[in-house]
Symmetry: C2
Subunit: 277 residues, 2 copies
């Protein structure tokens, strides 16, 4: 089942695809790392079913990620029902690939299971109302989901995260029957890429823009022009509308409408059983 | 550099180690997935240095994870200065492995870089005060960190996440020189496991306790007794104090002191430039 081939472990090519001209120093390398570097989000899927029990493999990978104090404050819902996928697509900015993909995973911050243990034992769960309890659940859901993503890509499947699941978290919760203390953090489409939709690897900021040594020094505005040029070249190669990073950041973060309604998130989460105190 | 051997791809053994008696249906499998299943947290390190430029490889893997709208709202600080590692250990519940490991990575939710673009362009960044903006930064930091963890383990290195970094986020921020809009979410020790400290793979809840199909059905309290028995058997095998999952959840989440001071997290984050509105 191993889909890694010698061609995928070309280190210099992989680093150049990810960083453009700003290639970092080449450290240790192997096929696993080549797989991680090759990630790209895919927004179009063939309807083909996944191999039997692929879901169980992805969940086993997800559960193998670290979880704070082994509390396991996350869950996942595998959505395959076409009507539910269509409803989730409508609630997530009409992203059609949610309907196309054979498997749509909804990743949940979930303290309901832990609360049940308290209820059964007659113990008041004093930590539940706090921001920390929500945050640890959201982070653990993300660690788990990334392991599932890596596992899926190792099998030749494609994925894309759907942050727009947070545009309407209460409606998503009602659709999926979520109990209090349980909220969808993001979705993940899983399937086979449709012909012609696989993008090239997207360049990222140079490592100097992200990585500091001992003292924070990562926010370097002088790095933006070169990266903007890399992103313009990337969008030209992909026949996408010209887009540089700085303009995208300003458009997405400078206007409240960039939140697509997510400015209500804290109020909605409080209503779903996360007081965020 | 590839450390995967045929012995590591024993699917049935890997699933039994992760699930005990509750082995899920066996789906597709390969060496990458075997590596993910083999994860265990390691809390003791040899002082040996990492191969040259390992840090650059781990960061390249981290930056290859998905990031919401390519905003890249995270950073990482590589801490190798012994005095800073000692100070971070003191701030993180005196976890000695932070001092032992040759590389301690501090993963940051970071919107400072994006704010700088707004400042330079004279654009008011309207989305900054909202909970969503903090949450996307925390989730993206987690996705990135998990890729770095997978890359490290593929190289034969060990890791452990340090959530206790959130016990004293303001002090961590001062120590590392973090600007407003930047806060440590968790640490990650990276290094070679010291002799005798490598635990076995820890069992997790059965998949039926985590995974639902189309409608939420994951919080099944009837699963706890069998899992408690698995965890008791695991702690006996590891010569650890007897610990079952239900009791641990009640101890950790039932008492406010289980938060180790993190009940102040929302107030501290607000002071660090995340209004969490």
């Amino acid at each position: 089942m191993d889909t890694i081939t010698p061609a995928t472990i070309d280190q210099r090519g992989a680093l150049a695809a990810r960083y453009g001209a700003a290639v970092p120093d080449a450290g240790p390398w192997n096929a696993q790392i080549a797989l991680l570097l090759s990630h790209r989000s895919v927004r179009g899927y063939r309807p083909d079913a996944l191999p039997e029990h692929t879901l169980q493999t992805l969940v086993a990978a997800a559960q193998s990620a670290a979880t704070s104090s082994n509390l396991q404050t996350w869950s996942v819902i595998a959505v395959t029902d076409p009507a539910k996928k269509a409803a989730l697509a409508r609630l997530s900015n009409n992203q059609h690939h949610i309907e196309q993909c054979p498997l749509f995973l909804v990743w949940l911050a979930d303290v309901a299971r832990n609360q049940q243990l308290g209820d059964a034992a007659g113990v008041v769960m004093e930590t539940m109302p706090w921001m920390e309890t929500f945050l640890v659940a959201a982070i653990d859901a993300a660690l788990a989901a990334q392991n599932a993503t890596v596992a899926a890509e190792s099998l030749g499947l494609s994925t894309v995260y759907i942050g727009a699941l947070r545009n309407n978290p209460a409606e998503v919760g009602a659709l999926l029957g979520l109990p209090p203390g349980c909220a969808g953090m993001f979705g993940l489409c899983v399937g086979y890429a449709a012909p012609g939709v696989t993008n090239a690897v997207k360049p990222r900021l140079p490592q100097a823009g992200i990585l500091s040594h001992d003292t924070y020094a990562a926010a370097a505005p002088e790095l933006a022009p070169a990266y903007d040029a890399e992103m313009l070249a990337f969008s030209a190669r992909q026949d996408m509308a010209a887009e540089n990073w700085s303009d995208k950041v300003l458009a997405r973060m400078g206007r409240l409408r960039g939140l697509s309604g997510r400015e209500k998130l804290s109020a909605v989460l409080r209503g779903m059983g996360f007081p965020l105190r």
